[in-house]
Amino acid sequence: MLYLRLAALILVRTTVRHWREKIGSYLLLLAIVAVGVGAFNGIRQASRSASANFGLFNQAISGQSDFLIESPTKTLSADVLYSLGPLSGDPDWHLVPVIEGSITSLDGDGEPQQQLRLVGLDLMGLANLPNLSEAKFDFGEDELTWYDWLGSENSVWIGRKTAEKLGFDEGEAIKFIASGRMREMVVRKIIGVESSSFPDDLVIADLPTAQLLLSRPNELSRIEVIIDRPELRENVDYLETIKSRIARYLPENLAVQPTQNRAADRAAITAAFRLNLTILSLIAILVGAYLILQALDAAVVRRRSEVATLISLGVSRGVLFLTFLLESAVIGSIGSVIGIGVGWLFAYLSAQMLADTVNALYFATTIEAISLTWMDCVFGLCLGFSFTLLAGWLPARDAMQTPPAQVLSRGDWSPGFSWLRNRWIGTVLLVLGSLLLLLPPFPLEAGGKMAVGGFLAAGCWILGAALLSGHLLVGLAGLLRSFSSSPTSRLACSRLHDGSSRHRLAVAGLVVAVGMVTGMFQMVDSFRGTIEQWFNVRFQAELYISERGVTGAGTINGIDPSVMSELVQDETIAYADIVYVSYANPPEGITVLSGVDMEAWSTTIRQLWLKPPGSLEPVEGSEPALISETFARRFGLLEGGSIELETTTGKKSVSPIGIYSDYGNEFGTAAVDISTWKEWTQSERPINVSLYLNEGSDINGVRDRLRLSYPGLDVRNAAELRGVALDIFEQTFKATSALNGIGLVVAFAGLLLGLLAIFDESSRTWLTLRHLGFSKNQFLLSAGLEGAGIGLGAWISGSLVGLALGWLLIFVINVQSFGWTLRWQVPMADFLTFGSLLVIAGFLSGLLAATYWSHKNK
């Protein structure tokens, strides 16, 4: 305790003075911690806001659903309602059948305006719900005559925000596209809901109306269960009793589960995506930690004589160690508090971007208000605090070891960090990373996998490369010096060749950022290249048709079967490749079951085949299937075999006869013949169709004609489809790019800070050189070259580790997380451009730092 009080006293009496003198550096340091914590917290909040909203109607309207009754395929035949027996009228709960699908509102010109979620529910049944009136769900005048809703076939109810956004008033007609057909409904009521949980994109209609609009007669999405006594929601025993009473009478293919599990399911589906973002967001704070280490080390060096004096006066080394740790803690705490605010700002700016990505990749969602929870604050503070403390540990130990006599007599003593000069630590880390690759992937809840070994290896390699980068810098500087003739360049090279701790730390911080950025370069480029190649092979048809306005991968709404059968009668069509899609449940998680023309897919339809049709022998008694690479890897079917999938009509076994590359989803797809798919899913609704036209047909002419005939469908030629797909692809990497950018900004801020410290430390050298006739311009140039040298060193080391990371991302992390292999592409031009920018930025940082030093030391 006494130690702590003494340390605090020294901190107040001496350290604060140093902070005042170096106010700019310390502010920058605080900014670095704040940005690091902010990036982590921002991503956490933004992904929660972007993927939390999954629109259980009841959550929006009358509070909370307690249980969900669902089938494995997430669709139910309404027939099941009659098989619920005594469950249907039990007074202890309310069963709320729901159908959910996507529609697209149209503007005045008939152009798609916004994708909306249509939720159909039994409006009569709402009157029974215990919380309806308490949820401030205001039906206005309608509330007194709710029984008039009976037979309200052409009415929809929309939320106030949606109405304002789309410019609708009560009683007005709203035009939209559903299931490939243009529809028109009347806005019966704009629902005034004070609760912020009412999703922006929700449109409510009576259940049979919604079934009709979505062309899904006799179909439900789920049955929500709401207990009659909401006051018992927290009573676990009561809920368990209710659940078991429901489960007792449920038909075999239905399951009841607490609603929270659905949230967990959704969270699990996006787990890999969110995890990748979180890991990326840690880069900023990792780089930040390097910089804090560097800055605190510089502070120790500057205060060495003061430390020596304190030791001579009898202050114990332990107190000094504590003082420097306390300084780190203060910086970490203040930076983290600011970081929490910065995180909120980041989340606010990036939530829509993440929501778009989740929409494109996983399921329909809208953003909820960004919420800052206590846990966010605690996480942010702990993260910032622990990283800063960790970074402050070494300089504090360094300060503790100061020999007072030596420092006071010679005026200097700077041992630097011996571990930075030690090649072995870096080398061991590189080897350890390679060994960690042998770790198997960790299974996630929804059936996804987390490439633990890959991520740990990436961490080890980055740290190892950062540690070794100092050696590369020294060697590089030695090499360049031998080619240098001018005093300025020789001076710069010599200083770099000396390889001080600060130079090594500066380059190491940059290497972390450069390595990650170049690694991501390769992954994005490889992904794009692979997808383009996939497109070239896979998409050979002339026209592609899907439901209009629906672009998300998770939306499997489909086209009205009658529209489809009418469309394929067009005389210009030589062949129509119709695809059907539904969800199915493997033993764990969820996957996609597709219905295709097996004969055509096995012969004429081109695919990127990993194993062409016929190369695998189907297991007897199983349905032959063409499976995607993701599916094969996920269920261990690369060499054949079989797997049972739970469908609407029960468990069905599929066995691969071929494996194709597919980058459409990360859950895997098994394609069976259309007739089998229809039998298993009891559905007739196709998802899209590729049209092969008769030879000599005017492709765009046919496209325009079909667009006019079927305004509810998106008709695109191959080039247009490619454009849309690449847009989705770019969308998915937006968040990644933003995080890369943040990492780089932090790294450059660190470089500037590092160079400031380096020049500050070299004051005597510069002053001597000035006396010897070194001009200011020569000094500035030399400083710039020193900065450029660090940039170059960081680029070379960073690119080397970046190449390794690129390989790791493509061949380990992507394969294990998503189950697909990409063609590795190294974007040389991007590498070179990035390197040049890095050298220029280094040069400018050196120039800037030297100008500042020069101004200060006139």
């Binding site: 009228g89 039994d122 009976l150 037979g151």
Partner: protein, 376 residues
């Protein structure tokens, strides 16, 4: 509130001697019950979807087999037809758009003083079905059908907390039709008529599952089934209604419709049902209904005149006095919304001297105010 409309629509109605010609259809396009109709059972125990309003109603008193416990119960299923013009979607069997069903079920535990009650509303479909061929109702927590091989009915009603009452009813008297030429009059409007049939004395037997314990019970019950297509006029505040089952084997049905001025509407009446099912009646000018005591609900704050003195002039036996005393005060049915509350409960019947002469069920509706406005 809305339920009150239906309750009012379905309350026991008047039948004046003066004859009127009924129209074929109501203003909403539903069929109007025709005079001289000869009911065809069991078909007419079932639903009549061509008519606008219909309800099935059971009340009674039960005693446990060990005679330690006594209960009162009420089950009511209402059907109201929607606007036939509005509905376009084809009824797919799951979510109908033509008929709305309501269920009210209540259980009075006269020993413990507990009163369980439940209101639910459903559209015709998977949760609410009524056969038009026979008595076969499945509406939320109530299932009712005819007994097989014998005259009578079986009703199962579920209450909250997994409580359940399963009863078989066997009539000891023939079905009683009310009104002239088979039509019960509701008001001056010629379309305001109904077919109104009652089993005024049923033997009830079955089990009550109460807090997980199965209790064999038996007792007596009353059942109404009414079919009509039109609504009552305005100016009404509510109504008081009772069915009495006297120990001498006769029954009495009495009701008064309360006007805004606090008087009885002329359509108010008292019916006597003799041992063979024959009926006598007097109208508003032949009886009086006086409140002797009241109970104020702690839930809604409404005051109900639950102790009643009915003084009526029997056409043959002359003046008779019946006093109704509630067997439990707290038998207020609040439903899902408290502004829709009414009192309906088990009572005993006393004579002028205060001797107990039978059992009754008493219904007191419209004491929350505003009911008349909603009817107009």
């Amino acid at each position: 509130m809305n339920v009150s409309i239906l309750i009012l629509l379905s309350c026991p109605l008047l039948a004046f001697a003066e004859w009127i010609e009924t129209p074929a259809q109501s203003s909403k396009g539903h069929l109007v019950p025709a005079p001289d109709y000869a009911p065809n059972f069991p078909r007419d125990h079932g639903s009549h979807p061509e008519y606008g309003i219909e309800w099935w109603y059971w009340v009674g008193h039960l005693q446990s087999a060990d005679e330690q416990k006594t209960f009162g119960f009420q089950f009511t299923v209402f059907r109201i037809a929607g606007d036939a013009e509005k509905a376009e979607n084809q009824f797919d069997g799951f979510f109908g758009n033509q008929n709305l069903f309501l269920v009210h079920s209540a259980l009075s535990d006269l020993e413990s003083g507990e009163y369980l009650h439940l209101e639910r509303v459903y559209r015709e479909g998977w949760q609410a079905r009524a056969s038009s061929q026979t008595l076969n109702l499945s509406v939320g927590g109530i299932q009712a059908h005819l007994l097989s091989g014998e005259e009578g009915q079986r009703v199962v009603a579920r209450y909250k907390e997994a409580n359940r009452l399963e009863l078989s009813f066997r009539p000891t008297k023939p079905l009683v039709p009310f009104g002239d030429r088979g039509l019960s009059r509701k008001g001056a409007d010629p379309a305001a008529v109904s077919w109104y049939w009652s089993y005024t004395r049923l033997q009830a037997e079955g089990i009550l599952i109460r807090d997980g314990v199965e209790i064999p019970v038996k007792g007596t019950a009353w059942m109404d089934h009414e079919i009509s297509s039109s609504q009552l006029g305005g100016g009404l505040e509510g109504w008081d209604w009772t069915c009495m089952q006297l120990d001498d084997g006769t029954e009495i049905k009495a009701y008064r419709l309360r006007t805004g001025a606090g008087e009885s509407d002329p359509w108010s009446a008292v019916y006597w049902i003799d041992g063979e099912g024959g009926t006598e009646r007097v109208y508003a000018d032949g009886f009086s209904w006086e409140a002797e005591d009241s109970w104020t609900s702690p839930n809604t704050g409404l005051e109900y005149p639950t102790s009643v003195k009915v003084t009526a002039e029997h056409p043959v036996r002359g003046k008779q006095i019946f006093r109704l005393r509630p067997l439990l005060d707290g038998q207020e049915f609040t439903g899902n919304r408290s502004d829709n509350a009414y009192w309906e409960g088990a009572c005993e019947v006393l004579n002028e001297r205060g001797d107990r002469i039978g059992k009754a069920y008493l219904e007191l509706a419209g004491y929350g105010g505003g009911l008349g406005a909603r009817l107009n």
